[in-house]
């Protein structure tokens, strides 16, 4: 086993960590905190909707559901049942680039979590049945109905992705996928996906909380050590390469059952691995975090054009990522007026002041420290930095990068990424 330990200081808070790699390639990150009564056990698998092949959109997420349907030694729902009985909580989420599974348990129940997680990483296939697949297919279709189809503006994410990323790009489709593709999924698909992506060498296991590192590592090695490493991860389907900008302003104008007009603008931006990404995150906070933010000040307060505003930066890895801003108008507000106001704010970032940057950094700092209060979030971040950057210590340095961002960096961001040659505009007008 190889290992490394982190010691980068952080003025507010330092998350201790040690990284180990089991012979089968599973990376294990441990972070001890004696004051916690709980332990967070978190797995990130390097697979998400970007890995789905044509005709199988939504499959990575459906697969995530199948991971709770039992494995060789655990009955259907045994995972939920045993963790809940032990006083734990658990869940999983699927995203474009990864799928994560996590549970928080009283700290003495660490072995239970490792048993459950290792059983499904190693031996999911023996438990698969058509019946559980059909059942979870219905559950997922109901999830889609509840969270997207039956919600006003519920398809915004799908529509933006389709505009910002070309049809051959793995981010062209939303994580939830389509009903037809969900219907088409078979047991063979589940088996193949499992054997390809759910292998130790494509995963990071993080354990944070009340633990003794030596014992936790021993336990991780015992439970996960005998799972075979797995083969190389196949290249992404489609064409992950794409030009840095969209090339024009593209539009999608929708008349739908929505109560109020809303305009969204998305820009293609560099990925989380690009040094500019931190400046873009700060730009997002200058625009959209807190009441001192530009969108709120200008659109909601000064002009009273919008009733709510949002700015959000997607953390994506493949070819490009995405910055999204939106504004919801009042009854009768014209979507093009909202668009013009949003554009003015995007372009206006070239006049950002040092004070605004400081404000944005202070707020980002607070959010980050607040997240790290919980062991489950700490474990999640350690998995993320290890899987995406091969560097758990990023958890201690991330805020340093953010703090170094200057007003000049934001001006560059505005000029390079937020111009008319790089916008997707989505406008919802009420259909009544």
């Amino acid at each position: 086993m190889s290992n490394a330990a982190g010691d980068g200081p952080h003025p507010m808070l330092r998350v201790p960590w040690e990284l180990h790699e089991l012979p089968n390639g599973l990376r294990v990150v441990l972070s001890s905190d004696a004051s916690a009564g709980v332990v967070g056990v978190n797995l990130w698998y390097g697979v998400g909707s970007r890995n789905e092949r044509p005709g199988r959109t939504g499959f990575a997420h459906l697969f995530e559901h199948m991971m709770f349907q039992g494995s060789a030694n655990i009955p259907k729902n045994g995972h939920f049942e045993l963790v809940e009985r032990a006083g734990g909580s658990l869940n999983a989420t699927t995203w474009f680039d990864r799928t994560n599974y996590y549970q928080s348990l009283p700290s003495h129940q660490l072995e239970l979590a490792l048993w459950l997680e290792s059983d499904r990483m190693g031996w999911l296939v023996p438990a698969l049945t058509q019946e559980t697949l059909d059942n979870q297919r219905e559950v997922v279709k109901n999830e889609k109905r509840q969270r997207y189809d039956n919600q006003p503006y519920g398809d915004w994410d799908e529509r933006l992705h389709a505009m910002v990323f070309p049809p051959e790009h793995p981010y062209h489709h939303a994580v939830i996928g389509s009903m037809e593709d969900l219907d088409a999924a078979t047991i063979d698909d589940v088996v193949e996906f499992f054997r390809t992506y759910y292998v130790p060498s494509n995963a990071v296991l993080s354990i944070a909380g009340n633990l003794v590192a030596e014992h936790a590592l021993d336990a991780a090695a015992r439970w996960f050590g005998e799972i075979p490493r797995g083969g190389p991860i196949p290249p992404l389907p489609g064409c992950p390469e794409l030009p840095p900008r969209i090339g024009e302003t593209v539009r999608d104008e929708v008349r739908a059952r929505v109560p109020l007009p809303r305009t969204l603008i998305a820009c293609r931006i560099p990925t989380i691995h690009d040094p500019q990404f931190h400046a873009i995150e700060v730009a997002g906070a200058v625009l959209g975090t807190g009441r001192g933010a530009r969108l709120y000040r200008a659109l909601v307060r000064q002009r009273r054009l919008a009733k709510d505003v949002v700015a959000y930066v997607y953390p994506l890895t493949t070819g490009a990522s995405m910055l999204v801003v939106w504004a919801t108008g009042y009854p009768g507000t014209d979507c093009t007026e909202l668009e013009a106001a949003l554009v003015q704010q995007l372009e206006g970032l070239t006049s950002v002041t040092d004070r605004e940057v400081e404000r944005a950094i202070a707020l980002t700092d607070t959010r980050f420290v607040r997240l790290l209060e919980q062991v489950s979030e700490r474990a999640d971040m350690l998995s993320m930095f290890t899987l995406m950057f091969d560097d758990p210590d990023r958890v201690n340095r991330e805020m340093d990068y953010i703090r170094r961002v200057t007003a000049t960096d934001l001006r560059t961001v505005a000029q390079e990424w937020l111009g008319p040659d790089n916008r997707a505009v989505l406008a919802y007008t009420p259909d009544s």
């Binding site: 507010m12 808070l13 004051s35 916690a36 009564g37 709980v38 060789a72 729902n77 939920f80 049942e81 809940e84 006083g87 734990g88 909580s89 700290s107 660490l110 072995e111 239970l112 048993w115 059983d119 059942n135 979870q136 219905e138 559950v139 109901n142 999830e143 109905r145 509840q146 969270r147 189809d149 919600q151 006003p152 633990l211 003794v212 014992h215 936790a216 021993d218 336990a219 015992r222 439970w223 005998e226 059952r257 109560p259 109020l260 807190g290 009441r291 001192g292 000040r297 307060r301 919801t328 009042y330 009854p331 400081e358 404000r359 202070a362 707020l363 607070t366 420290v369 607040r370 209060e373």
Partner: protein
């Protein structure tokens, strides 16, 4: 605690058994220091110095339950207005100060309480508390800001009419409590009630409700008692007053047999199903029986409702139930968003599950599992500073005894099958449930009528 190597270490691995290891870590329960400020406000402080952060909550009883129906939304509107300018600073100047401090700050009102909350790095506590003092004692409550906030609020109310979950929540509250009860209204108010609220109403509500004699400051984190006392005394000196009553006494309608109410949402992609009735008070002596009962029925993933409706039938993404316990009896609500063609079956299953709890004792093993689930999760409820504040505030708001959390687990574990069944009989009588479906009437009405339960159609205005 895993301070010793696991007994499993070095042994051959047996994957066929649930690994059992160690004993639970002893949960160190918060024992806050209590003191009173010269302005009359109470303080509960729980010191924790492992992170340089402090969470502060100013808790005031009252909330939406203390405002008449004609003024529905006044409590939340006043809460929203507090930081729209205070102490001579404009709303944006306040926001700039708080943002610059990196502080988290908000001001909210619920059914029976109002809260102003602050979360800040401890070196910046003094300045952040000054803002909090301005907001509590000296809000500007300017007319033009009120007009804007009200306008946004009215359109939020409009927006929520297109969100089926929100529609269902409001319609059910109205059915359960009736149109004359403050809890029968949305916390946000209606477009009509909001339109009628004047600046004078807001000023009066603030003057009556936000009084130091009613406030408890609940504080957790990196500050000592001496420092906190001085900071608070300095900022709240000279403030005085106290209001006696904290709510409106109001009769609630008696349920008259189980009825299915349908709120039509043409072409809806799903049906939002609710089954509810007014149930228990937070101060009820059978509180722990209710907790166990609800955990069995719909409080956890593996509860009966989710097991049947999701994991067995695939009707829904999730089915849950909650006893919303307040000082006076709050609603019990079972809920699921389901595929339209199975709407009637969902109602049937939920009522069946209620009947089963009323008629049959729960198996010992299932009760044991439910109790363990709640008891063993307790450490998670005390993890972050915000959690600690919430737990202490709960004690204050409901007048729970000092040793409440210390005796929580033994009281819960003492609940037996008879008590669970008695609680089910008391609160879950399937003959007196209000069923509500928000969905595509054309697709569901006929089959709902097949349930042989009276069906009534609601109009959106009535809801």
């Amino acid at each position: 605690m895993s301070q010793t190597p696991s007994p499993l270490s070095g042994r051959p691995l047996d994957r066929t058994y649930v690994p059992t290891t160690g004993v639970p870590a002893r949960l160190v329960l918060p024992e806050p220091d209590c003191f009173t400020l010269s302005c009359g406000a109470a303080v509960r402080l729980l010191e924790r110095h492992d992170l340089p952060v402090v969470a502060v909550e100013a808790l005031l009883p009252g909330g939406a339950g203390a405002t008449p129906v004609a003024h529905a939304g006044l409590a939340t509107l006043t809460a929203d207005m507090l930081d729209e300018g205070a102490g001579g600073r404009s709303a944006l100047a306040l926001a700039r100060t708080l943002d610059g401090l990196g502080a988290g700050f908000d001001s909210v009102a619920g059914y029976e309480d109002s809260r102003v909350r602050l979360w800040v790095l401890s070196p910046r506590l003094p300045e952040a508390l000054s803002v909090m003092a301005d907001v509590l004692m000296r809000p500007t409550l300017a007319s033009d800001e009120l007009d804007r906030v009200r306008c946004e609020r009215m359109d939020t109310v409009l927006q929520l009419r297109d969100e089926p979950g929100s529609l269902a929540a409001d319609a059910l509250a109205s059915l359960l409590y009736g149109p004359g009860h403050p809890w029968g209204q949305s916390l946000l108010g209606t477009r009509a009630s909001l339109g009628g609220i004047t600046r004078d109403d807001v000023v009066r509500y603030h003057a009556e409700r936000y009084q130091p004699g009613n406030i408890t400051f609940v504080v957790a984190g990196d500050v000592t008692e001496a420092v906190l006392r001085e900071l608070l005394e300095e900022r709240f000196a000279g403030w005085e007053g106290r209001t006696e009553s904290s709510g409106i006494e109001c009769a609630v309608p008696e349920p008259d047999g189980t009825v299915v109410h349908v709120l039509d949402r043409p072409r809806a992609a799903q049906s939002e199903v609710r089954v509810g009735r007014i149930s228990a008070s937070r101060c009820t002596p059978d509180y722990f029986s209710v907790v166990a009962l609800n955990t069995i029925l719909g409080g956890a993933f593996t509860s009966r409702l989710n097991a049947r409706l999701r994991e067995e039938k695939g009707f829904t993404y999730g089915a849950h139930s909650t006893f919303h316990m307040r000082r006076s009896p709050g609603p019990f609500i079972a809920r699921a968003a389901v595929h339209t063609p199975v709407t009637d079956q969902t109602v049937r299953v939920i009522l069946e599950e209620l009947t089963r709890l009323v008629e049959e004792p729960v198996p010992e093993g299932e009760l044991e599992r439910a109790k363990r689930y709640v008891a063993l999760r307790l450490p998670q409820a005390f993890e972050a500073l915000g959690d600690l504040v919430t737990r202490i505030a709960e004690q204050v708001l409901y007048g729970l005894p000092e040793d409440y959390w210390a005796t929580y687990v033994p009281q819960l574990l003492a609940v037996d099958r008879q008590e669970v069944r008695a609680a089910a009989q008391r609160y879950l009588d399937p003959q007196s449930m209000t069923v509500l479906v928000v969905g595509d009437r054309a697709a569901i009405e006929e089959r709902l009528r097949g349930l042989e339960i009276p069906v009534r159609l609601l109009t959106e205005e009535a809801a």
